[in-house]
Symmetry: C2
Subunit: 303 residues, 2 copies
């Protein structure tokens, strides 16, 4: 499964980047890096293109020994010793921040993890998800995005859209703001109820559907006109994105704790962000419509 998952994420990285080159009109910068403690990765970052302010698509395959700090942040990871602290992790992680404030930021991540022997229950799992972070709300965009992932969940016994949708809303909660980072999607972790093959099949289906879930939205929004006020609002929302990633995101914390490549971990941050003291929005504005939905997530599909 180590090889199978690693092959899959590399292939998906190629597919996604090929499409992004076509849209953005520039090639990515690629960095292949190795980690002193074992393994490495291949980071690809777009900047200066037509469509994206900054966009990164990273894969990594790392292994080594978990610090007890890193281990105890995981389920079942407390009080482990010796070879039980060995780990292997491979995955793909992407974040795309478009220039146009009408086009949402998107994030997706799929990972396979082994701790210890990788054979017995609890020593391997999959995790991942995809979520959308708009600055302006277009219901059709959000519905489309959720629909793609609901349809995938419906095809796999291991997956439950309702549960994974709620998990996403809960995970991306920015407690100190009382709002979610975005309008969600799906999120799941520690998935190991059925066989490795069945879990892999679900995760692969999700990863392969990324372009279908996002590109139609991007195509609709990337060339819309906007005002400087709307661009400023996007920058304020970028600031909230930074707050979530640096204060709460477990992937970021895990990367910082395991001596990951810092530029690859923090490629998720936007190119620019803004913090205005006591910024307020009118209660009948488009900006307010977004905030409402971040405070009270909606069910986007008729279920």
């Amino acid at each position: 499964m180590r090889q199978k998952m690693s092959d899959m994420v590399h292939k998906i990285q190629d597919e996604i980047c090929e499409k992004l080159i076509e849209i953005d009109g520039v090639k990515y910068r690629q960095d292949e890096w190795t980690r002193q403690e074992g393994g490495g990765g291949r980071s690809r970052v777009f900047s200066g293109g037509k469509v994206f302010e900054k966009a990164g698509v990273n894969v990594s395959v790392v292994h080594g020994t978990l610090s007890s700090e890193a281990a105890s942040s995981m389920s079942g990871g407390r009080n482990l010793e010796g070879t039980d602290l060995d780990f292997f992790a491979t995955g793909i992680s992407l974040v795309l921040h478009p220039h146009n404030p009408m086009a949402p930021t998107v994030h997706a991540n799929y990972r396979y993890f082994e701790r210890g022997d990788g054979k017995k229950k609890g020593s391997w799992w999959f995790g991942g998800g995809a979520d959308l972070t708009p600055s302006y709300l277009f219901d059709d965009d959000v519905k489309h995005f959720h629909e793609v992932y609901k349809n995938i969940c419906d095809r796999h016994d291991i997956a439950d859209y309702r549960n994974f949708k709620k998990w996403c809303d809960d995970y991306f909660f920015v407690k100190h703001r009382g709002e979610r980072r975005g309008v969600g999607g799906i999120f799941f972790d520690d998935i190991n109820d059925l066989s490795k093959e069945e879990c892999f099949s679900f995760v692969k289906d999700c990863a392969k559907s990324f372009l279908v879930s996002y590109i139609p939205i991007l195509e609709r929004r990337k060339d819309m006109s906007y005002t400087s006020k709307q661009k400023e609002w996007q920058q304020i929302r970028r600031g909230r994105y930074v707050e979530f990633n640096l204060v709460y995101d477990r992937g970021t914390t895990f990367g910082l704790n395991t001596n990951g490549r810092i530029e690859s971990i923090l490629m998720s941050l936007p190119l620019t962000a803004r913090w205005e003291y006591c910024h307020e929005v009118d209660s009948n504005s488009d900006e307010y419509k977004l905030i409402k939905v971040l405070q009270e997530p909606r069910n986007w599909l008729e279920l």
Copy 2:
């Protein structure tokens, strides 16, 4: 001491803000806020002025019961129960971010804390410090800043400049970047070795000297010419400032954990910041000179 410290920080807030109005050409926005669990504060934030991109000077007087989470993040704070979890805290906190990339950001904070009865050893302490964060290094500025605080330390038995200077370099270490946030100053916490009066006298001396430590530097730098490349470098350094504050800063964490007023806690963040993937600087540039000193702090005074 509760009243005395609270009076002092309010008076210093007035003095500092008066001077900032004179320099910045605008008045601050003031927000008086109360905290549901007890106490409140007075936030003053400058924006849109001639000199500062964003500048905040806050005082607060808060009390209540610590969550065990918040308590255990403090020294001696584990396994406390009942009235030992009562707390009182008052202090002043300021962060000034100038427009001009040649003028450094400055931060200062002085606080008095009681946990439990506030009488026995370990149930009260003072903390604080002041530190400078330039985008471009001017040795004379840094020497002046350190000198002011060294002279204060020399006047008070409770204070030790060498120790507090090192404490500052250690506290503002951004581990994942291998660099300090800035060029330091002094930092101290849990100060309670001598009497409350002696500690207070030191802290008051520091707070009263803030303008002397910073304004001469600002005056020299605020009207210097600069290029758009230098402004961009400042924005990248602002990004690092955000990283420290959101990932490591104990004041921010304490605020988020104790349900503080979010806009006052995060007023320390710059108006705008930038994250460029794999940004690099020439090894004989002014930017590199700064990075070197953040990686290997210097002794600024002949000791």
